[in-house]
Assembly symmetry: C2
Homo-oligomer: 308 residues x 2
């Protein structure tokens, strides 16, 4: 039995925190689900990181903003402006807290005259859980978080694809074309002489749908575990080490320990931590701290690509 895997890939464009450093860019990632690109957050410098990633600009049509701190959205105007200069035509959809709309619109109006494409805003309230995007491949749901201003994470859930037909069996049983889609979707086939051919002889199962949860920025918030239960990959912020737990609490951020505790409680397959405070020259202290609790933890870094 074999399974065709379509792409579900996360590319980290930036994983620093509020103070940019020479090592880390401001927050941004791109999620590639079956060749559609979705951006989460867009800090200053994202457009250059996007270019560096060699992802195709014209496949990026949706940008989700977790919250309106500058390190998560100051790169939007530059990205939009550049899309204008390269004469993009596809619509660009931006999902964010409603306050972004007038701020960004006034900049677009002034700096991007004669824009060759439409920017469409989809304001939502980060404080309530809702599905803000849905197509035949994937849905995106908000994950309300606890930060100094309204903030949410995003849950990407791939949809199950139809099974793959076994071409040779289709030929062998002379199955007519009009039945193929029904067989892909699980029906058995009944031959002219009434014999039932079970679906599992005619198809191979499609891959299990995959899921990705992005949770940044947030204080330690155990109630999210229910919503992100069993995800394949969890990105959780780990701005601080546990030695800075008080500062983490004060600033509504998490420690590496807390990120790992969330991963354990939610039974995720893999954890990636990021949004590192500029105070850590070497984040291995954060990695080791998280791995003591949840061994399958990775450190985010710029240009890292992870396939699910």
């Amino acid at each position: 039995m074999w399974v065709i895997m379509e792409k579900f890939e996360i590319t980290i464009l930036g994983c620093g925190s509020a103070l940019p450093t020479m090592k880390h860019q401001a927050s941004s990632q791109v999620i590639n689900v079956r060749e559609k690109l979705f951006m989460i957050d867009c800090g200053e410098g994202t457009q250059v990181q996007l270019r560096r990633s060699r992802l195709r600009f014209n496949r990026l049509n949706h940008i989700f903003i977790s919250h309106l701190h500058g390190d998560h959205c100051f790169g939007l105007i530059g990205l939009i402006s550049t899309f204008g200069l390269i004469e993009r035509t596809a619509e660009l959809h931006i999902y964010s807290h409603p306050d972004l709309v007038p701020l960004l619109e006034s900049q677009i109006h002034y700096f991007c005259k004669g824009l060759t494409f439409h920017v469409l805003f989809h304001p939502f309230s980060p404080e309530k859980r809702e599905t803000i995007y849905d197509d035949r491949s994937v849905s995106v749901e908000t994950i309300p978080l606890s930060h100094r201003i309204p903030t949410c994470g995003f849950m990407f859930r791939e949809k199950k694809t139809p099974n793959h037909i076994k071409r040779d069996m289709i030929d062998f049983y002379h199955i007519p074309t009009y039945l193929i889609n029904r067989i892909k979707n699980g029906e058995d086939f009944v031959t002219e002489d009434g014999k039932t051919i079970p679906n599992n002889l005619l198809t191979t199962p499609s891959a299990q749908p995959r899921s990705y949860a992005y949770c940044s920025d947030t204080a330690y918030l155990p109630q999210i575990t229910e919503q992100i239960k069993d995800v394949d990959l969890l990105f959780h912020e780990a701005t601080f080490a546990e030695s800075e737990a008080i500062r983490a609490k004060q600033t509504f951020h998490s420690t590496a320990t807390q990120a790992a505790q969330i991963a354990v409680a939610a039974n995720v397959r893999q954890l990636i931590i990021g949004h590192f405070s500029a105070r850590y020259d070497d984040e291995s202290i954060l990695l080791e701290e998280a791995q003591r609790i949840f061994p399958n933890t990775l450190l985010a870094k710029e240009n890292l690509r992870i396939s699910l």
Copy 2:
């Protein structure tokens, strides 16, 4: 005879044009005149380049914006926001076309709540020549340019410093302290018995005042040569090679040839060209073109520092 040179240094933070690339950052430079830092333009990513430069943030109090295209000003909000996070207290003065004021103010108001320092705007009209900054070390004058929107360059003129006294001669003639400043400024000394000691025996001359002209973005504009006559260093944009002269004219930019022609006509000591179009992987074509006309030409590049 020896001369004490105080700093007059230009650091290139970014010298790309509108489309950022992996090689070049958006426009920004810092001019260090005797340990006061002045920034010209502030494209996206400038704050990280400033950090990379290791220039001291708290000595930067004045930012001059040549024109309101995004690649010259999108980095302002991130820089201001970061100055807030590191709890700057010194005032920050921004000199620009008046249109920037409401746009940037509304962003500061939203994103930089509780800012620990004042941002003071000094709007000016880039279309007329005027002195927009003046202190005891340096003056900054606008250089009206020809671009698609109101644009100006900036002329930095250092002021002459007093001569340096020769300590041993001061001691030898028992010159009283209250006369020292007058002698530094050129007076002779008359001894008690009426003998005149000429100033050149008592002092060494201070360095010749230096000057720097920044001209970007602009179409070929020969009338600026009168204003920038004899400057020590001219930064002139050279977005294109001469083979793209038509495109340069259409977009109100200059070719490397034209930049060099301006340098010749203005009799400048040294030329540095920048604001390179993203189409040039290798800018040596631009350098060679300019050097054929004006041999003392340099290519700008990120992190380059030039002392005058």
